[in-house]
């Protein structure tokens, strides 16, 4: 290694000014990035990983301030440079791949002109040379034919393609360091793998170092050379990836590792319930959405999907965005009327119910939403939220209602001090517990979980999954679990349906589907799961064919 590291962060402390008070979020963080190296900054939300990455680029939010410490780029401290001086090095020496490809491109300009902009700003060549370089870069990141792509607008591209454009912009001036802030969090798992492969390739060719900010330990394990684990603005542990993962020294890293869902952690076998006791039967479910525009053909979101779920078990519906899994569950809970097919819940055909009968039936099947920040009314208290479903059916005296609410809160592991709090005073995990309590207060027989743990940090996710498992055992619930995360699915479900473009491409017991997938798509999906390089704590790995 050379004497001077490419990036050296030394005892960095960053504070945000909130209501006239400084709140420190990064407390004395030190690490270094050598040329050509991938360093992963791993942590949960609120760990200060994004703040640290923003500081490297001088892009802290307006109320953020570097309190002490140094950010040395090639030996020069840039922590207190003016924005003007920083502009000269952004793009040329350090560049950024932002998190959300959906909102990071200008919607009214072609991607070619946005890619050219970065070279115009730094005056790299004349118009012709820049144009040639734009096409070259687009080809390089796999957007072909480049001439056509350069003339397209962001809305004409998919999420993965937009992320490729952003990577091309970041790599355009061949910087020595690329900061990738959760570059694939918004993408499907197969797209994620291709994007990460692309970043890897560019790194190998140009010798660019990458500071990879991620919450996903699996991604870090697969792609990074060194790992920096952050918690609450402090470094818990750092070192070469293999060492840290094989022998984590800090308790926090150990917990992260054991909480991370992994394919190698199958759920413990349970006594199989009776074969014929079916809670949900879906037969030939088809759904058409009307086409947009005059005379447009209807869009078929679901094409004769069929599956059955035995009482007291968990059935997972897996697929990437646009696969029709959300349409399927919305039909099962009765929010959508399918075009064709039958949905039997406890022997009652849901598709024939309407009006008051449907409202009455909702008692038996409840939905938990993906985003706990949007599914709770901000104007209600926790008590009102959990109590509300009870008000919709036969009147219960207030004292009984309150007792039921308290019981439920106890069941989902919330203390009674939360009763009168508004949702905004709760963390994401606590909110999701409230949402589960609200769903269970009517004693439903079936609980539909629509990506119910996807928005949560891994440790919180592990807690909620454990809670769900416990509730299933205690109450004999049937779960329909929708997820894009195969590792989570593998951990908690008994049977699975794999969806792709509105069709069910694979289905059956979880072991069969994961070990001997019928379709090439399922195999592709399983292969794309990050974290293959991650050792598994506490349970032996299972042989796996790739």
């Amino acid at each position: 290694m050379s004497g001077v590291p490419l990036l050296e962060i030394d005892d960095l402390a960053i504070a945000y000014e909130v209501n006239g008070r400084d709140q420190r979020v990064v407390h004395g963080v030190s690490f270094r990035v050598e040329p050509g190296e991938v360093v992963a900054l791993v942590g949960e939300s609120g760990s200060g990983k994004t703040t640290t990455a923003q500081a490297v680029l001088g892009l802290l939010a307006g109320n953020g301030r570097v309190e002490r410490g140094a950010i040395r780029l090639n030996g020069t401290d840039i922590a207190h440079w003016s924005q003007r001086r920083l502009e000269a090095i952004r793009g040329t020496v350090v560049s950024l791949i932002p998190q959300d490809p959906g909102s990071s491109l200008n919607p009214v300009r072609t991607i070619g002109s946005q890619l050219a902009e970065v070279m115009q700003i730094h005056r790299r060549g004349d118009r012709k040379a820049i144009q040639a370089r734009v096409l070259d870069l687009l080809t390089r990141v796999g957007l072909t034919p480049a001439e056509m792509r350069a003339k397209q607008y962001p809305h004409e591209l998919s999420g993965g393609m937009k992320q490729r454009v952003l990577i091309a912009i970041a790599a355009a001036l061949e910087p020595t360091l690329i900061v990738a802030d959760e570059p694939t969090s918004a993408l499907d798992v197969t797209v994620q793998r291709r994007i990460l492969d692309l970043i890897d390739e560019l790194r190998r060719e140009n010798g660019t170092a990458v500071l990879l900010v991620t919450h996903d330990l699996g991604v870090a394990a697969d792609r990074a050379d060194r790992l920096v684990v952050l918690q609450e603005g402090r470094i818990q542990e750092q070192g070469p990836v293999k060492e840290v993962l094989a022998t984590p020294r800090s308790a926090y890293t150990q917990r992260l590792l054991s909480d991370a869902p992994s394919l190698a952690k199958p759920r413990p076998q349970r006594a199989a319930p009776r074969e014929d006791d079916l809670a949900i039967v879906v037969e030939g479910l088809t759904h058409d959405f009307p086409g947009t525009g005059r005379g447009a053909a209807p869009f078929r979101a679901l094409e004769s999907v069929s599956f059955t779920v035995r009482r007291g078990t968990t059935h997972a519906i897996v697929g990437e965005s646009g696969s029709g899994k959300t349409t399927a569950v919305r039909s099962v809970v009765g929010f959508l009327k399918p075009t064709a097919g039958r949905i039997l819940v406890d022997g009652v055909d849901l598709t024939t119910l309407r009006g008051e009968a449907l409202r009455r039936f909702r008692k038996h099947i409840q939905l938990v939403y993906q985003n706990p920040y949007g599914s709770l009314d901000p104007k209600q208290t926790v008590c009102q939220i959990i109590e509300e479903p009870l008000l919709n059916f036969e009147p219960i005296p207030p004292s009984d209602r309150l007792r039921k609410v308290r019981d439920m809160m106890h069941r989902v592991g919330l203390s009674e001090s939360f009763l009168e709090r508004p949702p905004r005073a709760l963390s994401g995990g606590q909110r999701q517990r409230v949402a589960i309590a609200r769903a269970l207060v009517l004693d439903p027989r079936v609980l539909v979980l629509d990506e119910a743990v996807s928005a949560l940090d891994v440790t919180v996710q592990a807690q909620i999954l454990a809670l769900l498992d416990e509730l299933q055992k205690a109450l004999g619930l049937t779960y329909l679990f929708v997820s894009h995360d195969l590792a989570v699915v593998r951990q908690i479900s008994d049977t699975v349906s794999v969806m792709h473009k509105g069709r069910q491409v694979d289905g059956g017991p979880i072991e069969t589907v994961f070990m001997r997938p019928d379709s090439a798509y399922t195999r592709d999906l399983i292969d794309a799961i990050p974290g293959r390089a991650m050792p598994v704590l506490a349970s032996p790995p299972i042989p796996f064919q790739g």
Binding site: Q23, H27, F335, K363, P378
Partner: protein, 294 residues
């Protein structure tokens, strides 16, 4: 000690909004009030007191003049001078607050109640009813508001309350539009769907979730409309459609002062300035309410 401090800080980062509400009481919040907003509230409070108890603020009558004291310039005796009939202008403004404020309140109430109701029904029901209501609202917005007010007054007849109703009717369209857009936004949220999913009936969900969550912006608009209503009522008073003389309504004061503009400019300027200040204050308060909306 240091560990306790950092513990607090970390919580603040995770729960910035929640923690603030728990920590700051009313007294602290009052101290953090921006000066412009504080001044606006003071002004509105003073004007309200004028309306409630005018005799506490002035010893003169608002309607009866003192012979021989016509058209006096502002002095210690008459702070804002006197008008052509010897009436103290300050007293007339103070007594006039009642007419202008009541008018504005009635106008805003009419607009708020009917507009919100229309918007709520349109946004929540959707379909042909939504289309019908919103096209009606569009056609109301297409007519210049002063013209619409004048036509309504012609139908209802002159008088303070009728003017207020006319001004309020014009505001219905604005309230309906805002309320509808808010209702449509809230209706799409997960918690409303969850409420239907747990067996809620249409009206129950509307009352428990849609109404409380869409009302903040509408209330902000009400504060804003309060200012414009005062302006509109003054305009109609100025044109002679409002309360008949000698009612000391602000618009009427400006109209009467106009006759003496060359000799006693303050007769027009003083009530004009009061109207402008009240409108600005209402605007500032409206903005502060708007900011608390999600």
């Amino acid at each position: 000690m240091s560990s306790r401090e950092t513990g607090g800080t970390n919580l603040d980062v995770l729960e910035p909004r929640g923690r603030q509400v728990l920590r700051f009481g009313w007294a602290t919040r009052l101290r953090h009030l921006p000066p412009g907003l504080a001044a606006s509230w003071c002004l509105v409070l003073v004007v309200m007191l004028w309306a409630a108890a005018p005799d506490l603020f002035t010893g003169y009558s608002g309607t009866e003049g003192v012979p021989g004291e016509q058209l006096r310039a502002p002095s210690e005796e008459h702070i804002l001078g006197t008008d052509g009939l010897g009436r103290d202008l300050y007293a007339r403004i103070v007594y006039g607050a009642r007419y202008s404020l009541t008018g504005a309140f009635v106008a805003v109430a009419v607009g708020f109640v009917f507009g919100t109701l229309l918007g709520l029904v349109a946004g929540a029901r959707g379909g042909w009813l939504d289309a019908a209501i919103m096209r009606l609202v569009d056609s109301m917005l297409a007519v210049p508001s002063l013209l619409l007010s004048l036509s309504i007054i012609v139908l209802l007849g002159f008088g303070t309350i009728n003017v207020a109703i006319a001004v309020g009717a014009v505001a219905i369209a604005r309230f309906a539009r805002l309320a509808r857009s808010e209702v449509v936004r809230v209706r799409r949220s997960d918690y409303v769907e969850a409420a239907f999913g747990s067996g809620g009936t249409f009206w129950a969900v509307l009352r428990r979730h849609v109404l409380p969550n869409s009302l903040t912006s509408v209330i902000a608009l009400a504060a804003l409309q309060f200012g414009s209503a005062i302006l509109a009522i003054s305009t109609l008073g100025f044109l002679g459609y409002g309360a008949p003389p000698p009612t000391p309504e602000w618009g009427l004061l400006i109209a009467e002062g106009r006759n003496y503009l060359s000799r006693a400019w303050w007769l027009t300027a003083a009530p004009g300035v009061v109207v402008v200040l009240v409108v600005l204050a209402a605007d500032r308060i409206s903005k502060s309410i708007q900011r608390t909306a999600p």
